[in-house]
Amino acid sequence: MKTIAVKEISFEELTLTREDVIPLLGGESDYAFLMHEYLDTLFELGKQIFQIKGGYQVFDKLAFNQERQEITIGDITFDVKKVVFNMLRRSSKIAVFVCTAGDQIHELSRQYMAEGDMLKGYVYDLFGSLVVESAMDLVQNSLKSDLNSEGLTLTNRYSPGYCGWTVDQQKNLFALFHPEFDFVKLSDSCLMQPIKSVSGFIGIGHDVKYNDYTCHICDSSNCLYKNLKKQG
């Protein structure tokens, strides 16, 4: 298993489809044709717009403190709280990941909004969010296939800012990274730049579980995806 893997991903490699995007824009409603027009452009120009890069670093020096719900990786301790602790506690290794869709999509979205085209700006912004998540799926899949030969499995991805694990722990997470990961920067206020970036942990082990549906463990009351799933 590679301990560090960083990869540039081309837009064409993503499995993202229109069917993933349209429901978040209101589904096949009577204005869907307008959304499809934007998506035509985005899928056509995706290759030029996105600078996708992602990777993970695998750590095996782990300690789990059940009482405090803390995970220590090397000499850095994470107060991950109950839900994330329970999902990761059987891991023998943890892959710390980061992935970005690049800056340009955010800049384009802002430009359209500044020009008064809020709708286009919004669709571009949402698309950028889905691109980074889809890219991270690829990163996770490549980790998965790397591990299969060793009979190891993966957990879902868990990120600071979800399930009680606070965003300020991003500082600890970024402190773990090898310099190769500096394609995403973390600000003093724990904001990743480019904006369209995600970070977190994936548990690895012989006895860890991947759940197809994880919304029930998350306490977010205003999640775009959760509300959608409730409607669906």
Binding site: D30, L119, Y122, S189
Partner: protein, 222 residues
């Protein structure tokens, strides 16, 4: 209500921008907000009446639908496009002073945060409800808000943030505003916020969505 105003209000709510716009399919070929607003002015209806009886209620209805989970963001944004097409005809009357706005709303994403989609949506809906909106952008420091209050003493301040690590900067901003203007109206919002947090930092009101923000402003001028 006057039939023309009713049509205009519906055009805004439904996002019918102008005659040529293909959306909504059911209104294809009909006049949109652009033409109807022009016609209303030509018919001698006062711009203030057009604004208050047709445009603002049209935006209000779509805002309410969004707030109730009955409309998606794009529908609100399409309606906003129709609203701007109509407002283009009303804007000269703002400049001449014939039509007065309800007040000035100054909004910004707080320092340390660069998220602006939510802030932009709120700004747009508040503008559509008859307020002059001054958008200070993202990563806005307390001094900028103080400067805005100096220039517009009666303005309402709006603060937006998307992460818990940046939402704490609201507290600094509110404190600095309160030190000089203890009773100033400050509205806060953004995904990780709550009523409790708003109370804790001493802001005036928290709204989880644009419609709540609009309603708060309505109450503040009533």
């Amino acid at each position: 209500m006057n039939e023309l105003l009713e049509k205009l209000s519906l055009a805004v709510e439904s996002g019918k921008i102008n005659k040529l716009s293909p959306y909504p399919p059911a209104m294809r070929g009909l006049d949109g907000a652009d033409e109807l607003c022009q016609q209303a002015l030509e018919a001698g209806i006062k711009p203030e009446v057009i604004l208050n009886d047709a445009l603002i209620p049209g935006m209000g209805r779509i805002g309410k639908k969004f707030s109730d989970g009955k409309a998606f963001v794009p529908e609100m944004l399409i309606a906003a496009k129709a609203m701007s097409a109509a407002l283009k005809h009303i804007k000269p009357f703002f400049t001449s002073g014939e039509v007065k706005r309800k007040g000035v709303f100054v909004i910004g994403t707080v320092m340390g945060d660069l998220h602006d989609i939510g802030k932009n949506l709120v700004a747009m809906m508040i503008e559509g409800s008859g307020w002059e909106v001054i958008d200070l952008g993202v990563d806005v420091k307390p001094e900028k808000f103080l400067e805005a209050i100096n220039q517009h003493p009666d303005c309402v301040i709006g603060l937006s943030a998307l992460l818990t690590t940046t939402m704490v900067n609201m507290e600094t901003i509110v404190k600095q505003i309160r030190a000089q203007y203890p009773d100033h109206k400050i509205l806060v919002g953004g995904a990780p916020l709550s009523h409790d947090f708003c109370k804790k930092i001493g802001a005036t009101f928290y709204s989880s969505d644009p419609q709540g923000a609009v309603e708060f402003l309505e109450r503040s001028v009533a």
